[in-house]
């Protein structure tokens, strides 16, 4: 049941990306291309998503427990440091180069498998390398 719900949530998220058009990198790049033929769609996606999520998070609160786990796992890091900033810059440049970020990339695998094979292999490699580097610095 806990796995089925995770599967369903993934499906819902993926369908949301598809309905909103965010699975299409050209649409995402159309938003980021503010001096070009501007497509504001991504802004509307964020508004819809944040409105629902903010209300939902408030409603859930911190009391009690999630249905399938022992406790809520909210991030508790509040520090704004060079790591956060440099990570955001790297991610932003990559996103701006191809218009793909992790979520939409997953939905695109079946649609454009070869392009996504290249992108995903590179993304996963980047993740493994970054995790290794971060844990060495902390160790």
């Amino acid at each position: 049941m806990n796995l089925l719900s995770a599967l369903f949530i993934g499906l819902l998220f993926g369908l949301g990306l598809i309905v909103s058009g965010m699975t299409n990198p050209e649409k995402v790049l159309g938003f980021l291309d503010i001096l070009g033929d501007w497509d504001a769609s991504l802004a509307f996606v964020m508004v819809g998503a944040i409105a629902v999520t903010a209300a939902g998070y408030r409603w859930i609160g911190r009391a009690g427990k999630p249905w399938f786990d022992l406790k809520y796992q909210m991030p508790n890091n509040v520090v704004i440091d060079k790591q956060l900033i440099s990570g955001a810059i790297l991610f932003g440049v990559g996103w701006g180069l191809v218009g793909l970020c992790p979520g939409p990339a997953l939905t695109a695998i079946i649609i454009e498998p070869w392009a996504l094979l290249v992108f995903s292999a590179a993304m996963l490699s980047g993740m493994v390398i970054a995790r290794a580097v971060l844990s060495m610095r902390q160790g």
Binding site: L7, V45, G48, A49, I50, T53, M74, W95, L97, L134
Partner: protein, 135 residues
């Protein structure tokens, strides 16, 4: 207009998914984190992560069932650019601990200043990158 309405509706579906993940598993729906913890060293709770990822990957098939065709997308970039972009997205999301879903949707919904800063920075970096590439 029609596009923007669909964007809003799709956004609310994304939001609903985020809320459901918090209610059911107590987790932030940050896709970069969900995926990265499936990479070595693999997290102990990989089961729900894999289920979630499978759901996202398979979603276009639902669209195929409903619409009779897969969503159409355009990817015009060369493999080299795709690889560089992927590498940057992979390293950046791990170093910055989040992406558009993690910081942009979930973080902002929690009124996290850290996520606000991250979101503004990656948005700006992306906009500048697109400007340099296209103009």
């Amino acid at each position: 207009m029609h596009d923007y309405l669909l964007a809003l509706i799709g956004g609310t579906m994304i939001g609903a998914a985020a809320v459901l993940l918090m209610a059911s598993h107590g987790r932030i729906m940050g896709v970069s984190g969900i995926i990265s913890r499936l990479m070595p060293p693999v997290a102990n709770d990989w089961h729900w992560r894999i289920a979630f990822v499978i759901g996202v990957i398979v979603a276009p098939l639902i669209a195929l069932l409903i619409n009779g065709k897969l969503p159409s997308i355009q990817i015009t970039h060369s493999p080299v650019v795709l690889a560089i972009g992927g590498l940057l997205v992979g390293t950046g999301t791990v170093i910055g601990n989040g992406c558009t879903s993690g910081h942009g949707v979930c973080g902002l919904s929690r009124f996290s200043v850290r996520s606000l800063v991250a979101t503004m920075i990656f948005m700006l970096a992306a906009v500048i990158t697109v400007y340099i590439v296209r103009h």
